[in-house]
Symmetry: C2
Subunit: 239 residues, 2 copies
DNA sequence: GGATGTGAAGTAGTTCACAGCC
DNA sequence: GGCTGTGAACTACTTCACATCC
């Protein structure tokens, strides 16, 4: 049901990172059977300005109705298409410690286009167990074909796991290990460091700057879209 | 040992998000007993250009030596000071499912200034157990005084937990629940959505754009901002 | 009337290029 | 010679302001 009003402009990186946020909000509204939403409402919920919402969505095509906002179902469809949810993408998760399990069990992670096709771990006690309907294989078994590997092993094991992924033809790695990975050209590594999020929050706490200081702010993970225009600093309660 | 060469300029959001990355690399070099590093090496390891590294570090003061790069120990000290690691910050973690446990057990999360002072969970089977040396308390017990709360509960419980944090005087929340939180002015919410990282990777896979398509890329986040941006953050080591 | 979509302006961040110092 | 630190140029993103359309 690709609408003719669809446009496939190149989207900016910050926009791409916000689309999943809009998507989640839109899905929530669909569950509540609301049918329309406007840019001000969406922006409020996503922690960005209404203008930013409109610009982001305009990049996907002419989705709204002037004077009446956006149809929630249309938004859902178009955001999903933009993010490639209509195409499925096979994912393996390597390392089933707490973080790996958290991701596999999360209702938000391996969904929307991503499909779990394999689990791997080094621990003999974990290998052979079933998690989320998948038998955990030994990490030294050949890796199944997949588009993306999610690496949740300890830093010390991360490089060898990455090497094995590359050998197996997996050229997109989502790396949760706090370890720099060396990979050949043509392989993409996307590093995720959860501790950074806390560090950034601490920086602002100690300096009384940034997202704190004034308002209800939902700074975005990644990249962190500076939310609604930074309000003038107000002395903060944290200190 | 605050050097006189220290400057305390206001740092940009992307810079702040990159400092923890530099810090981790510098710590690795210290463990290997290397004493000097230059901006090209640091940039290579962090996935940013040498110029960006120099600009980021120049924001902290005049730390380098022309012609000879940076002293690893100086860098470690100054980055730590900039991030406020010399001041300690009390943190509670609420919700000890897999994600909460992963964070508490991580050698990278609750370190460098952040100090764990309390654990809370709703599950009677978990309450009373000891994790990382801390007894897990019931989530309906009064919250201990802290500066930051890390929320790792299911989305459905997130809002009520946030309310309790605010009541308890905790005004900085790191929210891992995929749920928009309403909080009063003066409270900062920093949302972290792990699924976004995968979504962004999928977008680039399907579109052949961005960090893929050509090279060894360590996109930054945060965003990434913007890092990420990441452009803002689209890449950081486990970010 | 009311909210979208967008040119224009403004702001923030990165990269270039080189002066300055070791 | 080599590498830092930084003005200047450039690029990217956001915000303003308003024409446009329902």
């Amino acid at each position: 049901m690709t609408s003719s009003r669809l446009r496939r402009r190149k989207l900016s990186e910050p926009t791409i990172a916000r689309l999943p946020v809009y998507e989640r909000i839109v899905e929530e509204w669909m569950r509540e059977n609301r049918t329309r939403i406007d840019s001000a409402q969406l922006g409020e919920l996503a922690g960005v300005t209404a203008t930013t919402v409109r610009r982001d969505l305009a990049g996907l095509g002419t989705l709204g109705t002037r004077g009446a906002g956006y149809d929630v179902a249309v938004l859902h469809t178009c955001i999903g298409e933009a993010l490639g949810h209509d195409q499925r993408c096979d994912v393996v998760v390597i390392g089933l410690g707490n973080l790996g399990r958290a991701l596999v069990n999360s209702s938000n992670f391996l969904t929307r286009g991503a499909r779990l096709v394999g689990l791997y771990d080094a621990d003999p006690l974990v290998v052979g167990t079933v998690i989320d309907g998948h038998v955990v294989r030994a990490v030294d078994e050949p890796l199944i074909a997949a588009s993306v590997a999610v690496i949740c092993v300890p830093a010390s094991a991360a490089q060898s796991v990455a090497d094995r992924c590359v050998e197996a033809g997996i050229h997109a790695l989502l790396n949760f290990a706090p370890q720099v990975l060396a990979v050949p050209l043509g392989t993409a590594v996307h590093d995720v460091d959860l501790s950074i999020e806390l560090q950034v929050l601490l920086y602002h706490l100690h300096n009384g700057t940034g997202p704190l200081g004034g308002g209800l702010l939902h700074a975005l993970a990644r990249g962190d879209a500076p939310g609604p225009r930074m309000p003038p600093m107000v002395e903060g309660p944290w200190h």
